[in-house]
């Protein structure tokens, strides 16, 4: 599967992958992280979040892990982490966004000259 076929990512998907890029997290932490990283611009509801998580699990971009040390109601909390494929997709999207920003800045600089 060509990584480029999956780009560009939806904003919610991008922020979920961004949140998981550093370490595995459970659902609530992903929600809070997304809100923080987007400066409050992207706030995920549980239905949006878990719809996206389901798609990402089915696509193989993330996997579910059980964190025995983080318990809720006596059961291990479910956390999610990026798979190798998910990390490649995420890095490709970051590279795409960087190239867009670079082109935009160069255009602006040329316009001022």
């Amino acid at each position: 599967m060509d990584v480029q076929d999956n780009l560009p990512l939806r904003e919610a998907t991008f922020f979920i992958l961004l949140s998981l890029a550093t370490m595995p997290k459970h659902g609530y932490a992903i929600m809070k992280d997304t809100e923080r990283l987007s400066d409050g611009r992207v706030t995920l509801s549980t239905s949006t979040l878990y719809g996206a998580i389901k798609r990402l699990l089915e696509s193989g971009w993330i996997r579910r892990v059980e964190n025995e040390s983080a318990e809720s109601n006596g059961r291990a909390k479910k956390e999610y982490e990026l798979t190798d494929q998910g990390r490649r997709i995420f890095e490709a999207e970051v590279a795409r966004l960087e190239s867009i920003v670079t082109v935009a800045r160069e255009s602006q600089a040329d316009a001022r000259v």
């Binding site: 239905s47 979040l49 719809g51 998580i53």
Partner: protein, 340 residues
Amino acid sequence: MKPRISFFYLRVYHYLLRLYPADFLTEFGPEMELVFGEAIAEAQKSGSTSVLALFLRELRDLPLSLWREQRRRRQSEKRGFVMPNDINEPSYWRPASGLETTVTILPFVLFSILMTIQAYLYAKDFTVIPFDWELSMYLVALAGLGFGWVKRFPRWSLGYLGLALVTSWWTHHIVTGDFELFGYSSDHWEWRGWFALLAVALAATLITRSLSPLVDLARSIWVDLSRLSFILYAALGWLILGVSNDSSPVALRPLQTFIAALFIVLGVFPFLHLHLPWQRGLALQGAVNLTLLSGIAIGAAVTGTADVDWPILAIWLVFLLLPGILGLFQRAGSSPGFVQ
């Protein structure tokens, strides 16, 4: 913020989650409730406005999420990836057994017989009708509704639900003869006409100790709109039989009522045996149209004129068209492959 209000949001959220497909609910339901609870607890620190905003955000995103998951599930079923082998799963569809057909069709047959006999007696100038057929139908509808509610609204109970709703409405609005209820009679029933229905609802809720049958009903309708079609069919068919021939000559009414009732009864069979929701919706649509138009045709054939309020008729037909149209949005319903 008072914990009771947060508990209210959590309970509403819990029931809203039941609208998701069973497999999604099994996989993510507990986790979503946990996350929502954490979000509520966090929002409580900022006050009731933050909690309300959080809840409204969930309500805003829920319809699209539900639609996506239901569509994904239907697509998976078509590809054979998901087998709705749970007969309580709303999307599971199988032809009705003989017993289920009998129970489903019973109120329609009873009602048709009673209305035809009444029309015949009126035509023969009987001034006293030996039975109160409206009350009889009301009781049959309420009994079926009560049992169906406790059984979590299986397919056979939907007709009873439609009849119970329309007979309650009818009791609210019309003169009901000399029958008295709590000291009130005839034109004083008004809103009290809904008492019996509310009593059945309360009894069923107490027996099941839960509102989940109503959630199951909503979920089953969401998945299969032909169920809503059938509820409307039961209600509207009764209304058509009751009022559409009022302007016809009295001598004609027994025949008109019998023919119309025949179409009403026959319309139940396609609903119980066609596989796709849009087919079921359109079959019911057709039966109602034939019911309505047959009375007009018979009257026109005998009297030479069609005494019809055409604008009102047009409104009826458009309204009755809705279930059929809604069914068209569910072309990818359960396929025959799942029939045992």
